[in-house]
């Protein structure tokens, strides 16, 4: 009996999954755009405005699919459950062969961002990552460059084993939560994206004030907007055009201001060579 119920539940679940994912596979269905915590993706109102802006520009329905974990968004892309996604540079490089680069955001005039090493504002003594040995550390996501790969790379450069350097480490599954964990003292240190830090220093100054930046990493190519391999050229170019042209109208500029971006540009793989080197150095590929 139990087996039967379990089987039935599984069938129902499958039906549900295939039903919701139908859009991505149908040409005239809605465009599905995956959003990740590479930027503060949990602000509902500005993103809703962006979605409506996309619908207006593209003349078709657009659905935003928010997932906390990069790998989940990457899986949805590879499974063609998503058409586009804004992901971190590290998973982009990692799954480079399965996605197409649509555009790269421009922040402070350049398509780059960094990893910030942060500690609680109450900690006034720490000046480097090395001083956090034996402490509690908050990572963003195992597929985050600025929130995971970079600090581990730096530890490796220092000759430390990242697996044992900290007394305890955990994933907070977003840059913003890493900030909160460090601000609350849950973690003694954390690593976040410079873009999220800058954006929240406008939107959540009290949160930023509770943390202190100890070190800034080298620059990396900004977390890119990608498309799944089988997206039609028409859709690909429509989306690319939309992103690149956002600076040309008032609505687009207002949205870019909310996203704390200057605009988008057509990127190239050279932008991400540095993260690829780091990735290889850490031994993730």
């Amino acid at each position: 009996m139990k087996e039967l119920i379990r089987a039935l539940l599984l069938l129902a679940l499958l039906a549900l999954v295939s039903g919701t994912s139908l859009g991505a596979e149908t040409a005239n269905g809605p465009l599905r755009v995956g959003l990740t915590p590479t930027f503060p993706h949990d602000q509902y109102q500005p993103l809703e405005q962006w979605r409506l802006y996309m619908e207006r520009k593209l003349g078709r329905r657009v659905e935003f699919v928010r997932r906390d974990r990069y790998i989940e968004t990457m899986d949805l892309l590879r499974l063609k459950k998503l058409d586009f996604a804004w992901v971190c540079d590290y998973p982009y490089v990692y799954f480079k062969k399965q996605v197409k680069l649509v555009a790269v955001p421009i922040h402070k005039g350049r398509p780059y961002y960094r990893s910030y090493l942060i500690v609680p504002a109450t900690d006034t003594t720490t000046t480097s990552l090395a001083q956090l040995k034996g402490k509690v550390f908050a990572y963003t996501d195992p597929y985050s460059n600025t929130g995971y790969l970079t600090p581990r790379y730096e530890l490796q450069q220092m000759g430390e084993n990242p697996a044992y350097f900290f007394r305890k480490s955990f994933f907070a599954w977003s840059h913003r939560r890493v900030l909160e964990a460090v601000a609350n003292g849950l973690a003694d240190g954390g690593a976040v994206s410079s873009h999220v830090w800058d954006t929240l220093s406008i939107g959540k100054p009290e949160l930023i004030a509770a943390t202190r930046v100890v070190a800034k990493s080298q620059e990396y190519g900004f977390a890119p907007f990608v498309a799944q391999m089988s997206v039609s050229d028409e859709d690909f170019h429509a989306m690319q055009r939309l992103l690149l042209d956002m600076t040309t109208d008032a609505d687009g500029r207002a949205l870019l201001k909310d996203l704390n971006l200057d605009g988008f540009m057509i990127g190239n793989t050279q932008l991400f060579e540095r993260v690829e080197r780091v990735m290889r150095a850490v031994g993730e590929k």
Binding site: P120, T122, V136, A138, R167, K168, F170, F171, A172, W173, R177, A181, N184, G185, L186, A187
Partner: protein, 492 residues
């Protein structure tokens, strides 16, 4: 302290009463406060236990998967609420692992991750012991009250596995506002109770104490010899105090009667002493007097005396006779044999006095119920009635009436005379029955003395009252066969 106990009941009773009321009010108020404090504490414990059971359900998978952030969000969630009731809001929530290390806490700065519970403070050390004592999966929810905080520990367990313990910490500081409001309310009730009870107590104390104070003053008066009762109506109730007042009145009356009796005894003793003295004197005088008179008589009979000597002898004889008359008037000879008193005797007396009465235009009304002779010496009774009526006629104003009532009943003869006119002055009352005391210049003052002597010798009583313009003499004489025999004293 003594000064307090020496206070008058007028202050002491209300003061003690007030003290008791205040003590009782304080006791009740503090019981309420303590009760509310305990209620508050048990409310906190039960609400924390319920919160803990809810949190544990979501915390279990988070801890199982080592999801620190999720666990943090779970323990932080109840504290984010902008709840109106601060009371229900815990101060801190800790999730402990199996080794009693902090897996995550809502306040990582106070209780950082991986910190050992017993190192967080004395309270936590005690708590750690309690938790260690019950490591089993189905351990009960523990609660422990420290000096500043209340701790509720809920096992994080599901499906037979225990991952650790959830500890919910409440600061007792949040009790304070609630506690203060309860205390204030109790104080207000207490004040209202005091405002009602204290005046009642004061009134009741006064009502008891004021009569007591009056009684104390009256008792003091009695002790100093002034036999006065407290004014009537001082205390009109029938309780013990009322009984005390009644008994006090009875006692004062008895003392007054006793005092009167003592005065009466002293007076009769004095009169008896005077009687004995005068009787003795009379005998002593009468014997030589008789001899002297006989000698004078013999002297006259011998003859041959000149005129002048005879005159002198006659003068001496008259003087001696006057002495004899006076002495015999003082000497009441009750022992004289006499017939019994007959109804006619009273009429005789009325007849004998009619002349005097007529002279003064005074009417004498005699009323008698004697129809047969009474076993009392007629001569003496006649003399008593005669003396009393004569005094009455003399004291009576013109055109007045003198009444006399004679009644024989229950082996007693009662004679009562009554007249208006001049009352007997009080200073004379005490010496009324002594010899040579007279109300008018005309009498020699032996009438009432003789009357008293006769009545005494007949073992009777004589009393006098003079008030409201009426003077009344009452004589009571015992009658019967052997009822009268001269007292030895009188015959001596």
């Amino acid at each position: 302290m003594n000064a307090l106990f020496n206070l008058s009941f007028r202050y002491k009773i209300p003061l003690w009463g007030s003290l008791l009321i205040i003590t009782a009010t304080l006791a009740v108020s503090s019981t309420l406060i303590v009760q509310s404090y305990e209620d508050l504490q048990s409310d906190v414990v039960s609400s924390s236990a319920s919160l803990g059971r809810t949190l544990v359900k979501t915390l279990f998978p988070a801890m199982l998967q080592e999801e620190v952030w999720q666990a943090f969000a779970i323990v932080k969630a109840p504290l984010h609420e902008e709840s109106g009731s601060k009371l229900i809001q815990p101060e801190m929530i800790l999730a402990l692992d199996r080794n009693q290390q902090v897996f995550v806490s809502s306040h990582p700065k106070a209780a950082p991750m991986l910190a050992e519970l017993h190192r967080l403070g004395d309270d936590y050390d005690r708590l750690a012991e309690l938790i260690r004592a019950r490591p089993e999966v189905d351990a009960p929810i523990l609660d422990f009250s420290g000096p500043q905080r209340i701790y509720v520990a809920v096992p994080i367990a599901e499906e037979g596995a225990r991952l650790g313990t959830l500890v919910i910490v409440h600061s007792k500081d949040v009790f304070l506002p609630r506690f203060r409001s309860v205390a204030w309310r109790s104080a207000q009730i207490g004040l209202v109770v005091l405002a009602v009870l204290l005046p009642i107590n004061w009134y009741w104390g006064q009502r008891t104490a004021v009569p007591l104070a009056k009684l104390a003053r009256s008792t003091g008066d009695v002790a100093r010899g002034a036999l006065r009762e407290p004014p009537p109506g001082t205390y009109a109730f029938k309780d013990e105090l009322g009984e005390l007042f009644e008994a006090f009145g009875v006692m004062v009356k008895a003392l007054q009667e006793k005092q009167l009796l003592e005065q009466e005894v002293i007076r009769s003793e004095r009169l008896a002493a005077i009687g004995r003295l005068s009787a003795g004197l009379a005998h002593e005088i009468n014997n030589p007097l008789g001899g002297m008179l006989v000698a004078l008589d013999n002297f006259k009979r011998r003859g041959g005396h000149d005129e002048r000597a005879l005159k002198t002898v006659a003068m001496i004889e008259r003087g001696l006779s006057q002495i004899r008359d006076t002495v015999s008037a003082m000497l009441v000879e009750a022992g004289v044999k006499s017939r019994d008193l007959a109804p006619q005797d009273l009429k005789d007396v009325q007849m004998l006095l009619s002349g005097e009465a007529h002279k003064r235009s005074v009417a004498i009304e005699v009323e008698s119920d004697i129809e047969a002779p009474v076993a009392l010496p007629a001569t003496l009774v006649r003399q008593v009635v005669m003396n009393l009526l004569l005094n009455a006629v003399q004291a009576c104003e013109d055109s007045g009436t003198v009444r006399c009532a004679v009644r024989h009943a229950d082996h007693r003869l009662a004679i009562e005379t009554e007249n208006g006119g001049r009352p007997i002055p009080p200073e004379m009352m005490t010496h009324l029955f002594e010899p040579f005391v007279s109300g008018n210049e005309a009498g020699h003052g032996l009438g009432l003395w003789v009357t008293y002597q006769i009545v005494s010798q007949l073992r009777g009583q004589i009393t006098v009252e003079s008030r409201d313009g009426l003077t009344r003499f009452s004589v009571s004489l015992p009658t019967g066969e052997a009822s009268w025999a001269p007292t030895p004293c009188a015959s001596a």
